[in-house]
Amino acid sequence: MIKRLTTLMLLVVMICFLDTPLAIGQSDQTGQRRVTGTYVITNATVITQPGKWLTSTSIVIKDGLITDIGQNVTIPVEAKTISGDSLFVYAGFIDLGSEAGVKRPEEAEKPEHYDPSNPPNEVAGITPERSVLDYWDVSDGSIAEWRKAGFTIAQLLPKGEMLPGKTALVVFGDTKSTNVLQESTGLFAQFETVRGVYPGTTLGLMAKYRELYKNAELKNQHAKLFTSNGNGISRPEKDKSLEAFYPVINKQVPVVFEANEELEIRRVLKLQEELGFDLVLMDLEEGSNLSSELLAANAHVALSLSLPDDKAKEADLEEATEEAKEAHKRVVEEYDVALSQAGKFEEAGVKFGISTNQVKKDEVLKNLRLMIDNGLSEEGALAALTTHPAAILGISSFAGTIEQGKLANLVLTTDSLFSEESKINYVMADGYLYEYDISKSNKVAGDPTDLVGEWKYTAETPGGTSAGEIRFKESSGNLAGEIDVDDPNGGGTVTRPLENISFDGKKLSFTFSIQVQGQKLTVQSKGKVEGDDFNGTISIRDMGEFSLTAKKTPDFKF
């Protein structure tokens, strides 16, 4: 009896082993896997949603879900504690238009004798059937960077031309997971065309769009007819591009249309009025004066976080003529108008979200602060990061606020989110915790000795790959260098001195000139230095930019 029991126990334990999640009894030689999926944040100021503050509150998270919030919560035994004293907790930010980790698909191969006036859909940039997820690298470094900026959920925008494909919703969680929340959240469209083929301009694009849409509607009709009454109806020819429109036609999914400027917005609204699709406008830089039209069309809005730089506004007018001063007044006016767009949208009642694909991660809070200085309320700014995009994406039931039962996406800051000194200390995404260093960093000016030495470079140009050497020398604090390049006038290599060398510890730029057929060409190069690696580009004015990478040959000291 005991023997049978033991065997039974053994079996049960084994079954338990089979069933239990990887968290128990799995070895990880990198030591990276977390020990527990349960956390408690104690005694923090929790902003559950814009305008609602809870002080001295704790949050319990278990396996990706918020299980408890309150001043007195039961702390589970297996919980890792994060002291929330003097920390502020916000709902994780939601990005309506992100390109983090998204790769550009390879350029479509042009068939040999194709007609540029009637090209295959791929060549013309018409690929609405593609999914951005097929071009998304979940382990891409930029995802971690955006998470560091507080973003936990993002709608990914596919890269391409006129109709690059379908958008998808992902969470910035652990790389072991697929992190996919929703596969197809929208059909992405933009005013981009492929040079030299039809459609080549906005004119052709708009006409083509109308035609594709109408034909999709007709094909949809035809397909329905065929399935419902298969006898006597001709077989509908498969067209994956047109079929990609069906969910839009059936109002299951909106069109996500990129439109930065007022005229572009109006053109999209025109198409929407004619064809009747649900619309999310993406990356708006202006257009608050169109608020009533937007509301009437039921169009959702994602405001781009990009703002014009202030170089013109702050220009020194000491030596300017009266005329120039007058003209400058107008520039300042326009600058102020641009910064006040967010506030004006709020005033008009447009519940906009934001998109990050046009800015760098350091600009997010900086630009939001500028918008707040120019009319946007702090609540409105937080809503744009959380509740509004959740509503637009239809995920308010599990995201956008800090409530029991919602996904554990949180941002923990050292101070109120929009204050100047505030730093993001922790981000929790999909229940995984990430901690960030908030100590003051010292700015180090570029140390020339980092560059001194020999670098072997490779350059990818349309003419092919070329390789050679770059050598940096230092004398009395001044950096000098030279580069070996293939002689464009014929065999052999030439050595050219480097000019205009600039290095701040990370960014390096320089120029050199070369004689080609009697003409002097100036080549500019810039890029980033990380340790022994240089990653950058070379460009010759008007001829485009090409990749230049280099690796420092290690100095051997005897």
Partner: protein, 433 residues
């Protein structure tokens, strides 16, 4: 709808002296030289006021006499009652004769390859038989400066009268060296360089010019010292500008650049210089006047250079500069429509310059700038018989130009445009064959 209007037909006869001169159909017309008396018209001398009821005697290619009661002798008399006699108009910036069909590279002869090519002579490349020449001269524009374009020093421009079968027959005594001053403006809306790039390009170009000018100065000094020099045609020609034999025609438009150009002229002690283009001259008119440099500007019928400019900036430019004391000549910068010169002057007049000054800007002022005022630019005894007769103000479009004389030759008042008009006004066969 076939229509034959007798009135129009007779009006045409009046308009074309060719017809009323007993023209035999099919006869080819040639310029005629000889003695002509332009009798009893209003003579607009430009330099000596307007003389009513006055006659002008043309003989041996010159204006022999101006006055009342001149004896005709064996001169052909042209009755100028109710008509006006003007000096031939001078267009101080064109490509006339240097291109035939604008879009066909084979016919373009105004821009040679190379950045420093002042030795390229426009004069010898001018096509005396260009179809545009008769089209131009029947409008009363008798003289034009044909200017090369292209690099920094594109060539040597030449002043021609629009009559003659060889360039030398047309040449009327002036050559100049155009120079395209480095510009910090955008070449056009397709110019997508950044502000920094443009400034840098301009600085480098200025440095380049200074080096070249230095070289030309050295060449001149050595030449003057009779040193033996290896063949260097570009410097040889440029040395003439350094020496002051030939003036520099400096093309510059943006206000900032104009000031830089004036500075450069002063710094290099350029002996003879004229600014051309000067579309933003009104912004710096006083400085140009202070420097005492003459200006050739145009076309007047042009868009303002800046989007923030008042809409009539180009129309009022010549007038504003003139008011500030600048010597202003007007050009069309055209080739096949040099005939629009009087209309450019008309707009300049209407937008501030006034009729009198606008007329001077296309007659005596360019003549003085080019140093040919001894024989062109006004109606004075002893000057060249280069005049025209009109039935009204030549700036007005309603006015018909009746007779044109160049260097004493009476020009046939025909051109391909007119011949096509004559053939097709009433086509035969018409609709039905």
């Amino acid at each position: 709808m076939k229509k034959f209007n007798l009135t129009i037909y007779f009006l045409l006869l009046l308009l074309f002296p060719v017809c009323s001169y007993g023209q035999i159909e099919g006869e080819v017309l040639k310029p005629q030289n000889g003695k002509f008396l332009l009798k009893g018209g209003t003579v607009v001398t430009v330099t000596n006021g307007i003389m009513e009821n006055t006659s002008v005697l043309l003989e041996d290619g010159k204006i022999k006499a101006i006055g009342t009661g001149i004896d005709a002798g064996d001169a052909t008399v042209i009755d100028c009652t109710d008509h006006y006699v003007y000096p031939g108009m001078i267009d101080s910036g064109t490509r006339l004769g240097l291109v035939e069909v604008g879009s066909l590279a084979e016919t373009q002869d105004y821009a040679e390859i190379g950045n420093v090519t002042p030795n390229m002579q426009a004069l010898t490349a001018i096509n005396p038989n260009s179809v545009a020449i008769p089209v131009t001269r029947v409008s009363g524009v008798t003289t034009a400066l044909s200017v090369p374009s292209g690099g920094l020093f594109p060539g040597t421009a030449a002043l021609i009268n629009l009559n003659g079968y060889t360039p030398d027959q047309m040449y009327t005594g002036f050559k100049g060296i155009p120079m395209n001053f480095p510009t910090s403006a955008r070449r056009g809306r397709w110019d997508r360089r950044s502000d920094e790039e443009i400034e840098k390009d301009a600085r480098e170009a200025l440095k380049n010019i200074n080096e070249i000018w230095e070289r030309a100065t050295t060449y001149m000094k050595l030449e003057d010292a009779d040193a033996s020099l290896t063949y260097y045609p570009e410097m040889e020609q440029l040395a003439k500008a350094v020496r002051g034999d030939l003036p520099l025609l400096i093309e510059v438009n943006k206000a900032e650049d104009i000031l830089k150009a004036l500075e450069w002229i002063k710094e290099k002690e350029v002996k003879k210089a004229v600014l051309t283009g000067v579309s933003e001259g009104f912004r710096v008119a006083e400085k140009i006047a202070d420097a005492g440099i003459a200006v050739i500007t145009g076309p007047v019928l042009a868009l303002p250079s800046r989007s923030s400019d008042r809409y009539d900036a180009a129309y009022s430019n010549p007038g504003k500069m003139h008011k500030a004391g600048v010597k202003v000549a007007i050009r069309t910068s055209d080739t096949e429509n040099v005939r629009n010169l009087p209309f450019n002057a008309g707009f300049a007049a209407a937008y501030g310059m006034g009729k009198e000054e606008a007329l001077k800007a296309i007659t005596i002022v360019p003549a003085e700038i080019f140093g040919v005022d001894d024989h062109l630019g006004s109606i004075e005894e002893g000057k060249s018989a280069t005049v025209f007769v009109a039935d009204g103000d030549p700036f007005e479009t309603k006015t018909q130009i009746k007779h044109v004389f160049i260097d004493g030759y009476k020009i046939p008042m025909t051109s391909r445009h007119i011949r096509l008009y004559q053939e097709f006004l009433e086509r035969n066969p018409g609709l039905e064959k």
